[in-house]
Symmetry: D2
Subunit: 341 residues, 4 copies
């Protein structure tokens, strides 16, 4: 059965598997000291136009979020996130496990509102009891968000500015970064995004890799001994070649962007199809995740033919579902869905 | 240059890469729910003759050690290890980071002495101040040890018995398990080892896989919600297919054991060669890691031709080095070394 | 200047100081092994009509909350609290520091609604992604709440029942327990409260003691090695006599209840006075904390004569303030306020 | 029965109880904002001749050790201690609970050897694998040590110098500080000690107070937000007056030093008596803890008349015991012991 359940259903882009096979018997040092990792970091610096950037490869998204957050916060600090942020909901408490509170502000289709962020930070830092409270120590946003939405360049600029005003770094969770950057609605480039935050990551797991995320500290501003911190948090790959070769491939000949654009093309076709069929949209998403509202009676019928993700209960009779495309979605899958509907 | 530095210099066994390529575009659920992971677990249960075993795939060795230990200890407990145990030395404090002390007893060429373990546990549990001290909550050994040595079946039986007597689970770190089991000096089988402990892992990273370790709770005795604990500790692979397919391949047609035996064959050839050349051995290791003592003046010369690991300072003029073979070591490498010496 | 700022402005009830002085040079064992601590525990068991109860004396409220919560939760669990609960707001992240998330549900004048608790627990335990989320592992309420309100016996029964239905212990933060039990609006006795939860504490710091809280596990259900856990969390007093003698005094001749009733008498007089003066109440509190709304222009004037706590911004022109009485409030303070208004 | 078991058998110096009684009904702000705490801090600064010092009052020794260490270490750092250091042995794993390893070097009658410290730090920071290991982040010593011994000024200078050379702060655990400073063998003054470290504490619990330790950062070098950190670690007293008044009293009219000298006078009398009686000393201690070796057959007999602490098993037939004096030891206790022996 065709699955639109998520964007990590398939393995890796075939070019990655080829490179892994070609290089397989080369004897290489571990822990990211191999020349593929070094080359991949250079290519990422070039793509970000951030020649001083510190780049690290970590095993996955949860690991990256909890490692980066713990590395950048003091013990008495928490991370500010929209209440729907992945770190506060679906990471099994991995952030709290490192001792830090996720401080939530409202989410609007997955996004925080810069004004609400500012009001929150102003209140938190002027509260007469603030010394008895968790200090905001970092701002976390996801790009695209868990709801497929993206921040505009103006919004990113505002959030970065507000965070900086209160002395806080801005961290962008880019688990699906490519799908945000290649969206027709996106008005920010990778180099611009790198300038508008203090740390972000380029998601591999959901964008063509078997595993791995590339953390970028754009101005060479990695916390001291981030390498050791990564190991301590269980986010380090012993055979660093595995992430190094994958990212080296993804950042050769524009592959990361091309396959991201393909996912978006498929998503836009899907969206158009759903519109034509008169589907009600739960969110107007410009990226690879599309959300529609179904009558519960239709859920089961559709579920016989394709796989999708149950997203949210809308009311007694309606449910929101998610249909995701990815770098691997073939045009035939959309066509099959068209035939089905 | 030929490297004998360690046993994770190459990628993966070619059969693994083939399987990854063959299955690459299958759409599979994440987080270990895919049928390859399920099949791999069944094969591991069969190989262990432990039909009730709980099996989990984690990303790497450090992750496995810190996750298993934290999952099985109460907050006020520590883990007893030989002072040379990997968890106490080379894991960047990952165990302490989860709140637990590593309680050390002497190491004898990497092994703990059952009698010393017993004396330690007896003293710790009868100390008049024990309520102000860290309680021993688990015994940790590695098989083979960090020094290439292995425990005999009699020793494992004793240690397991002693641990059980004090109510403690025994955890065997099997990062190099295959290289221990296939050693000519080994008198224990995998099913026996599974019976002689409460949890162990089958190392993948150092024995043919790109990454991943298989944790086995042999009597279905996994801690409650170990799956969630794994995620919380950053030890879970989102694309579970990556570890599932690798272990499914390693446990098909005896591959894991065959490639481990190959490493041992190469190690024994290497050892024989070193003996013939009159090398002084630092340890008499029966597994894939061989340790010899060199005059410092010879270190640099040898280093021009092959890569190896500096192990320990012996005295002012002598250094112990490690030469490791692996599943990937070709006979030509040993031959080349022969020509060199 | 007279202060109504809080209920820990004075030292200790004079009878406590007398006992400390009388017993001062007795040589006693430390860490709660002294006979005063033992006697105090017996008296508390008697007052709770809980002969099997485990009783422990900890240093303060924050220490007690974080120690009890960490001791009773598994690593992957969080504690469910009203969003206004002390543990989620004013404890400097002490709960998260031990690795646990505070899972919040709405607060209604400081109280959680049993129906909302039930709906939350039902949703959390049936969420298809629950294994990727923090598990609810305990329910926390305060009695009285941070807003001076109290739960009825019916509400406590419901909450306890719901928590038990989902396998969760109920923890009652009794930092101000006496002021709740002695409220005219209270329909639950101490023995009943002990039956309606799994652990609670009898606040000393705010009810007549210099420091210290008495944690009660009413059915002998203390977590294993709670003594050591207490030490590990920094909640143990080396000279256990200090808390032992204090609680022994408080639970002799009904002192704890008498001084609590005095605080309530003073609070009800204060409330009556504020009503007579036409003050607008922010909350209708039946305990020792009274909350009124003032025009901002009046804040400063009142502040010249008495001290109080700024509680909340109501709107641009109004602020809620808190006036607290305690075991130490003399009738003259109320009279002085009457003269002032 | 007379007890020489430890130095915290009695309550507080009577002058402290008087001050607590005199000030009892003053309404004071909590959390150390009261004027007694402020005055006490000033007096401590004066006694240390450290006008810029940051001073904080914490609840007890374990709390102080774990809070100071966690506050000053980065996540990837551990604290270097003699293997007999209190933090590594008798604090129930409180340091590890905050995520930090205690890195041990040999203890020589409780003291570390500066040369061994230097060799350890040199090895640790030049180890080719140091990025996979716990970084030394602080040096911890106790003064006097757990064995009653003290460092000379020359040794403190060396240790401080070595620590500084490797970029590490030196932390002196002064749980029994007075008993060290007043020893006839001590050649360092409080102001000198304050100059020879980066943080230390003045023990109250064992030197005349009911509870409380005064942490001093002698050059105003407290970690940012140490106040909040203290609360988060459960080391803060809500009624700060309790510690404030105690330390204000102890540092008025030289009381802290006078009562410490009394303890030493009693200890020296005790030592002389034991010498006269031909006792074998386990350690030649110049402070308030005296250690002698007894035949096991004599243990029980002596235990019928006085209480003491079993310290260590010497051999099959001999046991070392500890006899401690304190600020509260009356001359009659020594006389009684004389009569007994």
């Amino acid at each position: 059965m065709i699955s639109f359940t998520c964007d990590y259903s398939e393995g890796a882009h075939p070019r990655i598997l080829e490179r892994l096979a070609q290089t397989n018997l080369e004897q290489l040092p571990g822990y990211g000291m191999d020349h593929y990792s070094i080359s991949a970091k250079d290519k990422i610096r070039a793509a970000c136009q951030a020649p001083d950037a510190d780049v690290f490869f970590l095993t996955g998204g949860t690991q990256t979020n909890s490692t980066v957050i713990a590395a950048m916060l003091e013990d008495y600090e928490g991370v500010v996130s929209a209440e729907t942020g992945h770190i506060g909901v679906h990471e099994a408490g991995a952030v709290e496990y490192t001792g830090h509170k996720v401080l939530t502000i409202p989410g609007h289709q997955g996004k925080m509102d810069p004004k609400e962020l500012e009001a929150y930070l102003e209140a938190a830092t002027t509260d007469p009891n603030y010394e008895h409270m968790v200090f905001p120590g970092m701002v976390y946003i996801s790009f695209p968000t868990e709801y497929g939405t993206i921040y505009s360049k103006a919004e990113l600029t505002q959030i970065h500015h507000i965070a900086a005003h209160y002395g806080l770094p801005l961290f962008i969770d880019g688990a699906r970064l490519g799908y945000g950057l290649m969206s027709p609605a996106c008005d920010v480039t990778l180099p611009e995004l790198a300038q508008l935050c203090d740390v972000f990551y380029i998601g591999g797991t959901k964008v063509g890799a078997l595993c791995g995320e590339a953390v970028v500290f754009p101005r060479g501003n990695a916390p001291k001994h981030f390498y050791t911190i990564t190991k301590q948090h269980g986010a380090m790959m012993a055979k660093g070649r595995l992430t190094g070769i994958q990212f080296d491939t993804l950042f050769t000949d524009n592959l990361y962007f091309d396959i991201s654009r393909h996912a978006i093309d498929m998503a836009m076709e899907l969206k158009q199809l759903l519109k034509e069929k008169g589907c009600e949209f739960f969110i107007d998403s410009p990226t690879n995740q599309q959300f529609i509202v179904l009558e519960n009676s239709n859920l089961q019928e559709l579920g016989k033919h394709i796989a999708f993700d149950l997203w949210d209960r809308v009311d007694q009779n309606h449910t929101a579902i998610r249909l995701a495309t990815s770098w691997a979605t073939p045009a035939e899958h959309i066509q099959a869905l068209r035939n089905l509907l």
